[in-house]
């Protein structure tokens, strides 16, 4: 596929001797959003972890055409893949400010990073109010906002989000997805989003991939998946 930020072909992943993913194929178009859907344990989180090099994986993974399957987690992050992990990966003992500064750790453009800080505070004004607070004292929703902001501080080419709605109140979830849509629209950040809540994810996504027991069950335009009867019954619940 041309114009893809991320192109994945035949992705296998392993936990020790146990294979968890079997030849996944999917792509994230430039400036687009791809949603990974599936039941618990289908391999959605594993897919993100495999892309980040947190689990052993084989296959062809290309970021802007450059193969990254052999690179370390740190190197992949430095190429512009921002992964917001499940559980949000908050540095609980550090302040909100320090968490955000860590997002810009690999950047050398200090003044641009400072402008980005203002930008994320524009998206999430509540974080600005709590800059000096210990991140561990934030609410779940605020920690999710912090995790997204920290990832945005990397100026990523691709933002990977692992269940941003997990454990949050519906109003907070709606808020976060509205802002994600704005980030995608205004800044053109491509996103790969893993979500239990398929309806939410399909609203945001251009493309969607349905994973079942580590294999691609279905993939295509988000609209098309939403219309699919099987998907609707199993994941959208109507």
């Amino acid at each position: 596929m041309s114009g893809a930020i991320l192109d994945v072909r035949g992705l296998d992943a392993f936990y020790g001797p146990i294979q968890a993913l079997f030849g996944l194929d999917f792509a994230v178009p430039a400036g687009g959003v791809t949603a990974l859907l599936g039941a618990n344990g289908a391999g959605k989180t594993t897919t993100l972890r495999a892309l980040s090099g947190l689990v052993r994986r084989t296959g062809d993974i290309r970021l802007r055409g450059r193969p990254i399957a052999g690179l370390s987690t740190e190197a992949i992050a430095r190429l512009g893949v921002a992964h917001v992990p499940d559980g949000r990966g908050t540095f609980t003992d550090l302040t909100v400010d320090e968490n955000l500064r860590l997002g810009a750790h690999v950047r050398s453009d200090r003044s641009a990073a400072r402008r980005d800080l203002d930008r994320v505070f524009g998206y999430f004004p509540r974080l600005a109010e709590r800059r000096r607070q210990q991140a561990g004292t934030l609410s779940g929703g605020e920690q999710q906002m912090l995790a997204i902001s920290r990832a945005l501080m990397m100026r990523p080419a691709l933002l990977m989000l692992d269940e941003p709605s997990f454990g949050l109140a519906p109003l907070v979830v709606a808020d976060i997805f509205r802002i994600l849509a704005a980030i995608n629209r205004d800044d053109g950040v491509a996103m790969l989003i893993v979500e239990q809540n398929a309806a939410l994810a399909l609203d945001l996504a251009d493309e969607a991939v349905l994973i079942e027991t580590g294999r691609t069950a279905l993939s295509g335009a988000a609209q098309r998946l939403r219309a699919d009867d099987a998907v609707r019954r199993a994941y959208l619940g109507y």
């Binding site: 980040s52 947190l54 370390s72 987690t73 740190e74 992050a77 430095r78 921002a82 992964h83 992990p85 990966g89 908050t90 540095f91 609980t92 003992d93 550090l94 320090e98 500064r101 860590l102 997002g103 750790h105 690999v106 920290r150 990397m154």
Partner: protein
Amino acid sequence: MRLDVHLCALVGTPPVSAFLHQLASGLALGGVYAIMALALVMIFQATQLVNFAQGEMAMFSTYFAWRLIDLGWPYWRAFAVTVIVSFFGGIALERIVVRPFANAPALASVIVFIGLALIFNALAGWLYGYSVTDFPTPFDGPPWFGQRYLSAHESGAILVSLVVLAAVYAFFRFTSLGLAMRAAAQNPTSSRLLGVRVGWMLALGWGLAAAIGAIAGMMAAPIVYLDPNMMAGILLYAFAGAVLGGIDNPFGAAFGGFAVGVLENLMGAYVVGSEVKLSVALAIIVGVLAWRPSGLFGRRIVARV
């Protein structure tokens, strides 16, 4: 163990001023314990392990400085070069010897640390011999500020420890490298996802700990004299200080180091006698573990075994 030699000059001084003198000179060695404790905590925070070789590494660095001074180098140049060499030595040690055991059980790491301690001790004995040697101090001359409780070296040692503490604080608080090191210790996976090279942060921690240890050794040596076993007692007091203050809290540990220094001196002079001063450290460690296991300023104990 020569920890008590400097006390001998006290015979015949009036009680109050003798007490103040004990207190003050406790602070001098306490500063050494404090920065050793800081070095221990630095590695503990990143790995949940205590480096039993820290003392012998510091002793070896001190011998290195002694050799440079012996060659006619000016003190401060030898000091600086020793700190730098120790820093890179610490990094090399982590990458070559410690790294392969990163995923081994804690027991294996402790055994490897003991192995390192034995090797450094033997290496120093082989290269420099086992006889006890004087070590110079850059703080010669009359006591500072016209007081009579602290020798010039003791004042200087306290000053140096405070400078080290302040520098370490500033490094971790204000630099982005320091921030990355704290992040890597706290949440390695999350740090890697932000592009932080966690493995290098660990190595850097070892480098810093080795450099701080070198300073501790060079400040202690004029007081306890230089020999391959000079650091065993000091490391023990540093442990006691770290456990007392809280081994997961750098400044608690440093405070603990000062407290142990004072306690050791006062107990040695007035309660148990200087021959069994080391037991004070033992009592502190066991007592703290029994009554307040996370130390005065620690949060809670997380052990890996």
